[in-house]
C-alpha cells in the first residue's frame, strides 16, 4: 500500500477561485494552491466552506482531481445538501480543506495500466493521467450515465487512449458489465485501477479474482473525520478486520478488501 506523505497533511483555508458548471449538476471546483504538488492521485481531501454554519456536521470527501502550483481542482456531482451548498460559493469565499488524505493509486512505470472509471469515479484519473511517468501505457475505459460533456472526459482522451461506454437505459447494463469483465480479463499481466459506484467495483473485483489480474479499487463511504479517528467509515479487509476507508484506503488492493 502506498504510504502518504504525512508532512503535507494540514488544514488550510483556501480561497475559491471560480466554479465551472457543466450541463446539469456536474461541477468543477477550483481552489487556490494548497501546496500539494506531491499528492498521489487517488488521494482525497475533506472540504467544508467556512460559512457553512452547523447544520451539516461533517466536511465532504472528494478525490483530488488535479493539483499544480496554481490551484487544486475537485470534480463533483450535486447529490445532496452538502454538494448543493458547495455550488453557492462566491469567488473569494474560503473553504476549509484538510488533505491530501488516504493513500493513492499505484503508478508503476512502463506497466500496461487499465483505468476503469464509473461516473464520478473519473475524477481522480484526471490527475493520474497528467502525472503518470509513462502515460502511453495507460488506457481509460469510462462508463457513464449522464451526457459525456458532463465529465472532463474529452481532455483526458486527448492524452491517453480512451473509450467511453454510455449507459443510456438500465437495459444497457448487462452489456456494460460484460464489457467491463472482458476488459479486466484482457488486462492480465498488467494493472487495473478502478473508481466508481459499488456494483461497478464489485464486478471488477470478481473479474480480477477470476482472471488473476492485479487490481486496485477506490472505495467511498460517508466520512466524519477523514483522518482515521472516528471509525465511522470502516470496511472489512482481507483478514475480515474493520479498517478505516479514509486512512487505510480509499484505494485498496482488490484482494485485500470486502465490498
Amino acid at each position: 500500500m502506498v504510504v502518504r506523505n504525512c508532512r503535507e497533511v494540514k488544514v488550510r483555508e483556501l480561497r475559491f477561485l471560480g466554479v465551472w458548471e457543466g450541463p446539469s449538476d456536474f461541477v468543477e471546483l477550483t481552489l487556490e494552491n494548497p501546496g500539494w504538488e506531491g499528492y498521489r492521485p487517488g488521494q482525497f481531501a475533506m472540504l467544508r466552506p467556512k460559512h457553512w454554519g452547523l447544520e451539516l456536521s461533517w466536511g465532504r470527501p472528494f478525490s483530488i482531481s488535479r493539483a499544480d502550483e496554481e490551484s487544486v481542482t475537485f470534480f463533483f456531482q450535486v447529490v445532496g445538501r452538502g454538494t448543493e451548498r458547495l455550488t453557492r460559493l462566491l469567488p473569494g469565499d474560503e473553504v476549509i480543506v484538510w488533505g491530501p488524505l488516504g493513500n493513492g493509486f499505484s503508478a508503476p512505470e512502463e506497466t500496461p495500466t487499465l483505468l476503469l472509471a464509473g461516473g464520478m469515479g473519473i475524477a481522480p484519473f484526471r490527475g493520474y493521467i497528467e502525472r503518470h511517468p509513462t502515460p502511453e501505457f495507460l488506457r481509460l475505459v469510462f462508463a457513464h450515465r449522464a451526457g459525456i460533456d458532463s465529465y472532463p472526459y474529452q481532455m483526458m482522451k486527448d492524452k491517453v487512449r480512451a473509450e467511453a461506454i454510455h449507459e443510456k437505459t438500465p437495459d444497457d447494463l448487462p452489456t456494460i458489465i460484460e464489457r467491463i469483465e472482458a476488459e479486466v480479463a484482457g488486462a492480465h499481466g498488467g494493472l487495473v485501477l478502478a473508481c466508481g459506484p459499488l456494483p461497478f467495483l464489485k464486478t471488477i473485483q470478481q473479474a480480477a479474482k477470476l482472471h488473476q489480474v492485479r487490481a486496485e479499487l477506490s472505495l467511498e463511504r460517508s466520512m466524519a473525520c477523514g483522518v482515521g479517528a472516528c471509525l465511522g467509515c470502516v470496511c472489512k479487509d482481507g483478514q475480515d478486520k474493520h479498517v478505516q476507508v479514509c486512512a487505510r484506503g480509499p484505494v485498496f488492493k482488490a484482494d485485500d478488501v470486502h465490498l
Binding site: 504525512c6 494540514k10 488544514v11 456536521s57 466536511g59 484538510w98 472516528c230 471509525l231 470496511c235
Partner: protein, 304 residues
Amino acid sequence: MDLRVEFAGLVLKNPIITASGTFGFGLEFMNFGDLKRLGGIVVKGLSLKPREGNPMPRIVETPCGMLNAIGIQNPGVEAFVRDKLPLLPWRETAIIANLYACSAQEFGDLTGVLAGEEGVAALEVNVSCPNVQSGGAAFGQDPAQITKVTEEVKKRAVGKPVIVKLSPNVTDIALCARAAEAGGADAVSLINTLLGMAVDIRTRKPRLANVVGGLSGPAIKPVALRCVHQVCRAVKIPVIGIGGIVSAEDALEFILVGASAVQVGTANFIRPDMAFRMVDDLPRTMLKARAQTIAELKGSLELP
C-alpha cells in the same frame, strides 16, 4: 490571562479536553496542531480484549448533529498501552483513558491494567454498556450499578483520579451523579450521547446497522448544558461538561454553569484543528465575559 484549571488532582493548562471516540488516540491529529497545547485528551474507549465494533453503517449525519454506533471498536487496552501511549505527550497533556466494560469485574480488571501506567493521568468510566444481566438497560441508567462500578474501579485505581461519565438517557441525571459520588468518584463527566435513530424511507431500513445510536453535536448542547447545571447543584465533586461544544464561547457556557473543564467531541469533525483553535480563542472569549481567569468564571451564573 490564566487558563489553568485544577480539579480532582489534575492540573490542566487549559479546560479544553478532546472527547472519547472523536479524537482517536490523539495521534491522528498531530498534523493539525501541537497536542501539548490541549488541556487533555480522552482516548477512544478501551476494552480488555480487542473489539471489532458494530457492522456498517455506523454513522449518520442529522440536523446539527450525528448518530454513531461504532460499538467501541478498539485494539484492546494492552495494545493501547504498548503502541499508542508512548507516542503521546503525556508529560505535558493529561491523557485520560476511557474504560468500557460490561461488568463490574471487567471494569476492575481494566483498571488493573491502567492503574500502574505513568502516562495515564486519569480514568474515565463509560457506563453505557447494556447490562445483560439486568434486562438490557445500561449500567449508567441504574444508580445502584453506577455506585458499584465506581467502587470497583476506585478500589483498583491506586490513587488515579476516577471520572464517571454519565448518560443523559435517564429521568434524573443528578441522582446518577450522586450515585457516582457515593461510589467514590473523583469527578463526573457528562453528557454521553442521547439515544437516537434514523431511518430511510426509500429502503425502509434503519440508517444504522445497529438500529439505534448515540446523538451528539450542537443539536444536543441545550440538553447537555441543562444536565451539567443540574449535576453541579447536586454533587460536590468536580464536573466536566460535554455535549455540542463547538466554540470557545460554548466552552465558557459550560464553565459558567459550573463545569471545571469541558470535552470537545463532534466539533473535531467540523475541522480537525477545532480543539486547538478553541484553545487559541479562549482568551478573547473570556474578555466577552469580562473574566481574567477560568476560576472566576466557573459557576458564576446568576440565577433569577
